[in-house]
């Protein structure tokens, strides 16, 4: 077992809902070619005909499905996402960059997930059996909790990228040092703008992002900074949530 003590490690079936039959894969391919190919490309390399325009000379570009590092996961850093992680991203989209595809039926979304997973052999050879689960209820956002969250924000040095004012202008970013794995400059999330959170804006989404990091981007996993059983992550979440509610009366 890894040293991620903050997380509960459970064995799970990666494909509880996933139909990998040839029929399902064929349906998934059809949907992929109608809906996904324009950004992600026919071979899933993230090089579709519209892939350049959304962010051009900055990150993020559309996901290259042939690579195994995924940003939006419930798994520890370096591991593949679960099917449920992929389903969540397709359903909700990525604020700013990928529209939600909840217009596809659930079956269609599972079919396209089955097809997407054929682009990387890692999905066949590596089994995801360690998940970060966040079953603890969020702590109430009391002023004490938010203040403790602010203290953690500083102690864990979140501000070096996100800035003391949390608007995404920390010193490492302003020095131009932040790049994603493809070498494109990347902007830390403005934590005062909740709707822009790419990995979701619910308390669980925020906690998951902090614990797992965003593989492929500079955002690291903070799992080792939280001990188990530890509810202090929710102080941090409450603080982050408070940054937006303060500016959105």
């Amino acid at each position: 077992m890894s040293l991620y003590l903050a997380i509960t490690c459970i064995a799970t079936s990666q494909a509880a809902k996933l139909d990998r039959s040839p029929e399902a894969l064929e349906k998934g391919a059809t949907i992929y070619h109608r809906a996904c190919i324009f950004c992600h490309g026919i071979a899933g390399k993230g090089d579709g005909p519209a892939a350049f325009f959304a962010s051009s000379y900055s990150a993020p570009r559309p996901k290259d499905f042939t690579r195994k590092d995924y940003k939006f996961r419930s798994t520890i850093s370096g591991e593949l996402p679960t099917d449920q992680d992929l389903f969540r991203t397709i359903t909700n989209g990525i604020p700013g960059y990928m529209p939600p595809f909840e217009g596809l039926t659930e079956t269609e979304r599972w079919n396209v997930i089955a097809y997407i997973k054929t682009f990387s052999p890692a999905f066949q050879t590596e089994h995801v059996n360690t998940l970060i689960t966040l079953e603890m209820p969020p702590r109430p956002a009391t002023s004490d909790s938010i203040a403790r969250g602010r203290m953690m924000y500083l102690e864990l040095e979140c501000h070096v990228c996100h800035g003391l004012d949390a608007t995404g202008h920390g010193p490492v970013h302003t020095q131009g040092d932040l790049k994603d794995n493809t070498g494109l400059p990347i902007q830390p999330t403005n934590l005062t703008n909740l709707p822009s959170f790419k990995n979701g804006a619910s308390p669980q989404d925020i906690a998951r992002t902090i614990l797992t990091g965003l593989d492929g981007a500079p955002m690291p996993s903070y799992a080792s900074a939280f001990s188990s059983p530890d509810t202090s992550i929710w102080h941090m979440v409450n603080y982050v949530l408070s940054l937006s509610t303060a500016t959105q009366p």
């Binding site: 003590l5 850093s77 370096g78 040095e157 493809t182 990091g213 996993s221 799992a223 080792s224 900074a225």
Partner: protein, 245 residues
């Protein structure tokens, strides 16, 4: 594992190799038919001046610059060159109880050691001895293998190496920090010590390609004939022009 850095001396390397052999349950009798290869990696050309790396953050602790000489020689022998046999594979265990563990420590805003070797199935244990946050971001090509923060007094983190290749180690917070771990699918690999010497044990007999990698000198390859019994000694010499590439 000892709480020390991954600086590879001959002794430590031999110890690791012995550990690997013991823990992974190598069929020593099958391997022992091979021969050890020993030798030196040599470069006698001009040594470029050391890199003056500008520190962009945490200057109070890290200093304003870090002086780093990636090409360290002793009487023409090159340290931190990785010597390996190409084209050989060995069955790799996935039994976690037998994994070798390599320590990678953030200390004084430098990865220690900067150059390491490992085998697929081994673990890298990332530590932080500094009183500030480091993130250790290990990539294979453009793909993240792990990207983790260890805060001041934070617990170490282990990650299993699943794919062979050159792992590049960086810290996104401190862009001047850099290191490499070369991961192989076999145990026939060594890194030169402070005197520029290496030793690869139990190499099966036959004609092999010996490959040398150094951070600044680049890659050299040479053929080598390994007999069924007896030692093989070889000195591998980088051309003088290697530093101007």
């Amino acid at each position: 594992m000892p709480d020390s850095t991954m600086r590879i001396t001959v002794d430590i390397q031999l110890a690791i190799l012995a550990l690997v052999i013991v823990l992974t349950g190598y069929d020593v009798s099958a391997q022992s038919i091979g021969a050890p290869i020993t030798g030196r990696v040599i470069f006698q050309g001009p040594i470029p001046p050391p890199n003056e790396l500008k520190v962009n953050i945490d200057q109070g602790f890290c200093g304003t610059t870090i002086t780093h000489q990636p090409l360290q020689t002793q009487q023409g022998s090159v340290r931190d060159a990785v010597v390996s046999i190409e084209g050989l594979t060995a069955e790799v265990t996935t039994d976690t109880t037998s994994q070798a563990v390599h320590i990678l420590t953030n200390r004084q805003c430098v990865f220690r050691s900067r150059i390491g070797i490992a085998q697929v199935g081994d673990q890298i244990e990332i530590r932080n001895d500094d009183p500030l946050m480091h993130n250790t971001h290990i990539r294979l090509g453009e793909t993240t293998m792990v990207n983790v923060v260890i805060v001041k007094n934070g617990r170490p983190i282990r990650k299993t190496i699943q794919t062979p290749g050159m792992l590049e180690v960086k810290c996104d917070k401190h862009k001047f920090m850099q290191g490499y771990v070369l991961a192989f699918a076999h145990p026939y690999v060594s890194v030169t010590d402070t005197t520029g010497h290496f030793e690869i044990s139990h190499v099966p007999a036959g004609l092999h390609t010996l490959r040398v990698w150094h951070e600044t000198l680049g890659v050299l390859e040479t053929d080598i004939e390994v007999p069924t019994t007896g030692d093989v000694t070889i000195d591998i010499k980088y051309p003088h022009s290697s530093t101007s590439q």
